[in-house]
């Protein structure tokens, strides 16, 4: 019995909180060059705990950074935001100028053909004195290439300040807000996809996003390395909070129908093919002023040649990344991520199919170990999102 192990080059980097996690599990693995906790009490119990309570994830391998105008820009707040937004809009198709103070958008870095180089979160600060800065979080595996691309794309003098020497913790689940609010009462009133920098007790100023990648309500909290252990321990002392490994992070995002770079997203795939047309707001569609706008506009108007879809196998065999999708004996696509859904107690997959086979209800064959197994094209997400959309209780 063997598992495929990814190629190893340099020894993986240790997380700042390595000792804290090792006291709780010995199941670690190399992910994007970091030695990450994969599993604590078990993938399925951890997954279910996050859907029912609150899970704490160490996602410090990712690439948080601050992008800013030169310190002496001298612009009024609105003009400063417009100026930094114009820089970033050179490489993403979303309306960054139109971000309200404190708002976050999910978007993609694009290449000249409109293919996706990475997916990322971009946040506008709320403080007037911080206008002209943006908080950006890119993926672990792409971060060095992304920062190089930004540096090449922006005007000289634009600052790119890496923050991946800090800890990035994600607290996710229906009880995340109640748990975090004990430490940070102001976080309770934040809406989903908003951003604040708050002084929190002895932990100093935290960079807090009400966001995440599990389909649940929750936060991503950037904390200075020397305060991270105290914050993690304070969160873990709450009976509603348990540590969750990378294994469950993947099954949670798969159930939530969210893209993972290198699986659903790559330089040969446009945001429209990835079913992310919603990230391109009206002003940008009309202006067609982003990389690959000609290709992307054609995908928007004529429809893309392939589409990302959900797939529910009819039997129990999981169909994972790389499984061919056939229809009437012909290959029409490939599974991009797949596995087992603890919430549905059934296998689920995402994949790309030729557009004409993307309608929900279409029956296709997943070629698991060479054998065709029937599956139905289904809408995404597999499990409804529980994001907090407006002020007040509930989602």
């Amino acid at each position: 019995m063997t598992e495929a192990t990814p190629p190893k080059n340099l020894p993986p980097k240790k997380l700042v909180l390595d000792a804290l996690w090792r006291a709780r599990t010995n199941k670690f693995g190399d992910f994007a060059g970091y030695d990450m906790p994969l599993q604590f009490e078990g993938l399925i119990p951890e997954h279910n705990w996050t859907r029912a309570h609150a899970g704490l994830f160490d996602v410090s391998h990712m690439g948080p950074c601050f992008i800013g105008l030169p310190k002496d820009h001298g612009l009024a707040p609105e003009a400063a935001h417009a100026a930094i937004a114009a820089q970033v809009e050179r490489i993403v198709p979303s309306d960054i100028a139109g971000l309200k103070p404190g708002q976050i958008r999910y978007t993609t870095l694009l290449n000249a053909l409109g293919g996706v180089l990475d997916d990322l979160m971009i946040a506008r600060p709320s403080e007037p004195e911080a206008q002209g800065d943006l908080y950006v979080v890119v993926n672990a595996g792409c971060k060095h290439a992304d920062w190089d691309y930004m540096g090449r794309s922006f005007d000289p003098g634009i600052r790119i300040v890496r923050a991946d020497d800090r800890c990035l913790l994600a607290l996710q689940g229906p009880e995340a807000a109640d748990a975090f609010s004990l430490l940070c009462p102001a976080a309770a009133d934040m809406n989903f996809m908003t951003y604040a920098r708050l002084e929190v007790g002895t932990f100093g100023r935290l960079t807090i996003s009400r966001s995440g990648y599990t389909g649940e309500d929750g936060y991503e909290i950037l904390v200075k390395a020397d305060q991270a252990q105290g914050l993690a321990e304070a969160l873990l002392s709450d009976v509603r909070v348990k540590p969750i490994g990378l294994g469950a992070r993947d099954t949670l995002r798969l159930e939530a129908g969210l893209c993972l770079y290198g699986h659903e997203l790559d330089p040969g795939t446009s945001p429209i093919e990835a079913d992310l047309a919603w990230i391109i707001q009206k002003r940008r569609r009309e202006a067609k002023d982003f990389p690959g706008a000609m290709h992307i506009t054609r995908h928007l108007t004529d429809g893309p040649p392939k589409k990302r879809v959900g797939l529910k196998p009819k039997d129990r065999a999981p169909a994972r990344d790389g499984v061919e999708i056939h229809k009437d004996g012909r290959m029409i696509g490939m599974v991009s991520s797949g596995g087992f859904s603890p919430t549905l107690n059934a296998p689920i997959s995402m994949g790309y199919v030729e557009a004409k086979f993307a309608a929900p209800g279409t029956i296709v064959d997943l070629m698991v170990r060479g054998q065709p197994r029937a599956a139905e094209v289904t809408p995404l997400p597999f499990v409804p999102h529980q994001y907090r959309r407006s002020k007040g209780k509930g989602s």
């Binding site: 019995m1 993938l43 399925i44 997954h47 099954t251 065999a317």
Partner: protein
């Protein structure tokens, strides 16, 4: 009864000239909760090292290799009936995968014994 092991974490036990085969407790623990398994058909022939079965957790799919050559004479009905929990609950007892009629007894004798496998796992 001697149980022998492979480096790929299969175990084999000989009972009345028939080999009972499964995955080790270590392998089951590493894998986590089994959510799917596929066993070979009765009568299927295997050479040592061939892909023989598949076992999957939420995390990953793993191939189970034929630890010795021979022909399948029985597949565990519990597993075929989708009672996959038995693989986690009793990997080296009720969670056996298949029974196989060996074609080369020397292959069994060359596998690791309990003590050697224990040392091997410690070094992983």
């Amino acid at each position: 009864m001697t149980t022998r092991y492979t480096k790929d974490h299969e175990w084999v036990r000989m009972e009345g000239g028939i080999a009972i085969i499964g995955i080790s407790a270590y392998a089951a623990e590493q894998l986590g909760d089994v959510v799917y398994a596929e066993l070979p058909a009765v009568g299927a022939p295997f050479k040592q090292g061939d892909d023989m079965a598949v076992v999957e957790s939420a995390k990953t799919a793993s191939d189970v290799y034929a630890p010795i050559s021979g022909e399948i004479v029985e597949a565990n009905a519990e597993i075929a009936g989708e009672n996959w929990e038995i693989i986690n609950d009793a990997p080296q007892a009720g969670g056996w995968f298949v029974k196989l009629k060996p074609s080369n007894k020397a292959e069994f004798d060359a596998l690791m014994d309990e003590a050697a496998y224990g040392e091997y796992v410690k070094g992983l």
